[in-house]
Amino acid sequence: MKGRDTPVGRRVFLGLLGFGAAGVLVGSRIDDWQERVIGPIEARDGTGFLSLFPIGRFRIYSVAESVPSRSREAYKLKIGGLVDRPHTVSFATLTARPPVQLTRDFQCVTGWRVHNVKWVGVRLRDLLDDAGVQPSAKAVRFTSFDGVYTESLTLEQARRDDVLVAYKLDGQNLSRIHGGPVRLAVTPMYGYKSLKWLDTIELTDAVEPGYWEHRGYDVNGWVGRSNGRSDDPTA
């Protein structure tokens, strides 16, 4: 028997290290492929089986102690600050407006990307116009009903065509974990700018850095042109 022993353990160990290193180097391409090919199947998979595997689609980041759930019936969006007509908008009022559809890639600053996300909502610009923005207003501040998450945009950014107050994602009402019932979809910017669980919209005289910006992310979070990253733009 002697001499026929083989160091299988070492081979398994080193093989895994090589496999892991290769995965780090080419994994982003495989990830991208999985997201394009398997992601859409997973989204339609009623059994939830595919969701057990780490394939594409969204990762859920939640920063507060817990995500309060708010029903569509009880939901009220508050619009205030430097506006002529502070008011609240119910979910029914929001969805009674002509829906705006927008399909864009969703890029997270940590690297994952979801292709062709279909948003339905209303343009933020239209809500701001309803409220009557005062000349002194220069920026818009958003808060979340999770009590922690905040975001800001300049007025110019907020008035873009591709910035929505969204209530549907890929054909379905926004679920709680995706920021429902109503969230922002700031599609030209990294995911953290698209505040979830939207509670208030407040016109202010200057941009206030939000939750993630206090943790080092750029205030102007354009995809591919901020946070030291070089992703393909989503605008």
Binding site: M1, K2, R4, D5, T6, P7, V8, G9, R10, V12, F13, L14, G15, L16, L17, F19, G20, A21, G23, V24, L25, V26, G27, S28, R29, I30, D31, L52, F53, P54, F58, R59, I60, Y61, S62, V63, A64, E65, S66, V67, T110, G111, W112, D146, R176, I177, R215, G228, R229, S230, D231
Partner: protein, 224 residues
């Protein structure tokens, strides 16, 4: 090798010494923390339920960076002799080990301290945990690396987590079916007949019997 025989209870052999048990259980606790916090960070519904992403992530990172400490410390301590010897046993596969995989020949395979399934599981977990440590470090300390490495590391971390999960479910299920093996990892000793029946080469090695297989003993350890 007779030091493995418990002197006042000659019917018992020490399967895992104090250092090995300490390393096993501290590692198990750290891995438990990593699985719990990792699940919260990764699974959308859990993440929404628990929240506090900063805190959970910090616990996960600290537990992850601590994971190699007990193993490495024991390997480089004189008292870690038993662990070092087991590492060598896990590495080497004898001809009997290879026969063991074929059901027809399993009964005649004369095993050392571990069966090849245990060896494979241990080698896989060892390699996978190092990969998790590396990919997790790239995820956490990403700034020196290209964007694509961060994405790749995330993907590797996810898939290896799945593999480790499956491996650990198997490990725990098989272990809990064997009360003697469980006791060995809890307190150390096993009955001598059990060792002789299931692990004949190990039994011969620690009792100084004729079965001793030089390949199974590992290289002699220098005295510290």
């Amino acid at each position: 090798m007779t030091d493995a025989v418990v002197r006042d209870r000659p019917e018992s052999l020490v399967r895992f010494d104090r250092i090995e048990r300490l390393v096993h259980w501290t590692t198990a606790v750290l891995v438990g923390i990593l699985i719990a916090t990792g699940a919260i960070l990764y699974m959308g519904e859990l993440s929404a339920l628990i929240g506090r992403r900063d805190l959970i992530r910090n616990i996960h990172v600290i537990a992850g960076l601590s994971l190699p400490v007990p193993i490495v410390a024991a390997l480089f301590t004189p008292a870690g002799r038993g662990l070092r010897r087991d590492f060598k046993r896990i590495n080497r596969w004898s001809a009997d080990d290879r026969h063991w995989w074929r059901r027809a020949r399993r009964a005649e395979a004369r095993l050392g301290k571990f069966n090849p399934g245990q060896k494979l599981n241990a080698s896989f977990l060892g390699g996978a945990l190092v990969v998790m440590l590396m990919s997790g470090s790239i995820m956490r300390f990403f700034s020196p690396f290209p964007d694509s490495w961060r994405t790749g590391a995330t993907s590797v971390h996810d898939w290896f987590a799945l593999g480790i999960g499956i491996s650990l479910i198997g490990h725990v299920m098989i272990a809990t079916r064997d009360p003697i093996a469980m006791r060995a990892m809890r307190s150390g000793p096993v009955p001598e007949p059990w060792a002789r029946t299931h692990w004949p080469r190990w039994h011969a090695e620690v009792t100084g019997g004729a079965e001793a297989d030089a390949n199974d003993q590992g290289e002699p350890e220098p005295d510290h």
